[in-house]
Symmetry: C2
Subunit: 391 residues, 2 copies
């Protein structure tokens, strides 16, 4: 059974079709797993094979096309009629002779869409160069347009039902971060700490369970805090060292990430405590600048000015739209809080604002996930914003 009401899915499809009309697209081939889920409810770890959802202006419902063995998964999780769930035979999987997109092209032909203008998600993770070539070759009478992020932009503003799941993820997140701060300690192996954190992520609360997160815990230690995307080892934590905790919780594929830095020991270096102070000041100020009607880059400027006073600068963006997603990223790749981004904030847009300072051989991170409201913002988790020191 699909997670949201059929009305909600049909509303999402309508908004997608409005954007298709503006872009002059008749048929949209959606390969991004989050977009497939958003439009149909489909939820399974099957994005390691090619699969798509096809939205056509002249059809009420999208069509799900995936591997035969996953068609039952689509029956269990989508709102689609059985006619609109089509599995391809297994000899299309990782074959040198045929590509699953050949099968998708056949469906497009059968439904009379092969002379239409077809939109493709050109930079979506699982839409490979060869998938693109196969469609071009198989559909010589179609014209093609880049529809990258078209659905992702529809996803930007969440419904109240979606916000509810993000709030639940925020509640789970509080338990996850507290677990991290409790278990990370000198002498404890990194893997044992991460094991406890993952346990907390998935067990969730007594009211609702957790889902897998689109990114695993990223917890670099010591010098490795100078870079954000290292995971963990089985070494024991030393004493007098900083650990970055970039974590998330997930509820029905909706995320609420949160990052903090924990210092193990009694003598955190002055540069770390000083940086933590100004970064938290900047985070508070940037969050205070959020409200409906404000432009993304204006938020970044508030942050930039505060850290400039302390002689700091940060090249990378300070936040991004996020929510429903699958590995490898909970970010939506649409609005970013960075110079040049003119996106106007609207209620129920949801962001992860992450102030990560990655220096030569050390670093500090602090973040919040929130929704935009009419007059401000509402964070999903309630957790102190500071450098944690545990001696």
């Amino acid at each position: 059974m699909a997670l949201f009401s059929t009305e909600e899915y049909l509303g999402r499809i309508d908004r997608t079709k409005e954007r298709m009309a503006v872009a002059g697209i008749d048929v949209l081939i959606v390969a991004d797993p989050a977009n497939m889920n958003y439009l149909t409810g489909y939820d399974g770890w099957s994005f390691y094979v090619h699969q798509v959802v096809i939205v056509a202006m002249d059809a009420v419902e999208p069509v799900w096309v995936g591997r035969g063995m996953d068609a039952n998964g689509a029956r269990h999780t989508t709102f689609l009629k059985t006619d609109n769930i089509i599995g391809y035979p297994d000899h299309y999987v990782q074959s040198l002779e045929r590509h699953p997109m050949d099968f998708v092209a056949d469906i497009i032909q059968q439904r009379g869409w092969d002379k239409k203008r077809i939109g493709l998600e050109m930079d979506a993770y699982y839409f490979t160069a060869r998938a693109h070539e196969a469609l071009r070759k198989d559909l010589p009478n179609a014209t093609f347009a880049d529809a990258n992020l078209l659905v992702s932009w529809v996803r930007c503003i969440k419904s109240d039902a979606e916000i509810e799941y993000m709030k639940q993820a925020g509640k789970i997140m509080e338990k996850v971060m507290q677990t991290a701060i409790d278990v990370v300690a000198p002498g404890v192996r990194e893997c044992d700490a991460v094991a406890a954190i993952c346990q907390a992520q998935i067990a969730g609360t007594s009211e609702y369970g957790g889902d897998y997160t689109a990114i695993v815990p990223m917890m670099p230690v010591g010098e490795k805090t100078s870079t954000p995307h290292l995971t963990w080892t089985d070494e024991p934590y030393p004493d007098e060292v900083a650990v970055n905790l970039e974590l998330a919780a997930c509820r029905h594929r909706y995320h609420s990430p949160l990052a903090r830095t924990l210092y193990l020991g009694s003598n955190p270096p002055r540069k770390l405590t000083d940086t933590a102070e100004v970064v938290v000041e900047g985070l508070d100020a940037a969050l205070n600048a959020i409200r409906s009607g404000v432009v993304c880059e204006e938020v970044e400027l508030v942050w930039r000015k505060i850290i400039a006073k302390a002689g700091l600068e940060k090249e990378s963006r300070i936040g991004y739209s996020m929510g429903l997603n699958y590995p490898p990223d909970w970010g939506e790749h649409t609005a970013s809080l960075r110079p040049g981004d003119k996106t106007v904030l609207q209620p129920n847009m949801t962001f992860h604002m992450i102030l990560g300072m990655w220096m030569d051989d050390w670093g500090f991170e602090c973040s919040e996930s929130f929704r935009v409201t009419e007059n401000g913002c509402e964070t999903f988790a309630d957790f102190p914003r500071r450098l944690f020191v545990k001696s």
Copy 2:
């Protein structure tokens, strides 16, 4: 510090160059994260942005090109000289004006490779249609060849050092499967069972910790066992129901998957127990057919004949090469145990043989991960092969 010796990496690069020479490729652009790791040691959860390793016939070392903030991660995990680690500025990330592959093309030009024949991994997960278009546009004097799976085929035969990690993953796997069979019980929420399983995956053993697996636990319940790729809910397990346990353990990105089916209750349906018996018989026989020199499709035929006697058939392949990998798949997409696959088995090839029977509204799974030896095979985990029944 890289995980393997520099000699081992250079050997892998040599074998890659041998295949490049045969294919007439001067410069290979590697975007598959497992292939990037294999050739350089690079290990970070940064594959959600575009990144590549470039192997050129006229250069000893590959070049890593990734996001600026991940360059320190490359310094920490690869054997490469600093000159061969190049970070791109953050304004290339998810930008409408420029693509990270524009930066990659600049590097190729600077190194004098822009008139060469360039190999691309056309169907690799993170090599998108737009990445391909950007390279074609930016390098008008180059010629291009499809080098999909070129490095993956080199990865097929593992070194003894790699096998050691897969054996360690197998030891972790035994604990993980036992945990699953212990915790899954009527009345227990699915999420709480999965939480315990993930805890076991990452804590590993007292000797070595676990890594994240390329696929999360897939544990469909009841009717959902008719499809393989559903994950979990927060519903409590009912009584008299089957649960598929398709799990893995991972050590330094090397996997050892294992699947079993657990029946909760005292009255497993006859069709389930009968199917379990013949599937295990088929699995045993197919494993017995493995040895150096045998062809992949011959192994499948052994299985096919046994289940045919019981009136069963299975459309999908019964196994695939696997080992080092990242989400979304631990499979290597090279050799498969299926009709038509003429790959000759060689010592230290490693497979996951999975006999999954997904019926209309029920199913059964049993699998083994193993390495090929001169005269047979060696499974990585030691776990009874049968339907587990827990009343």
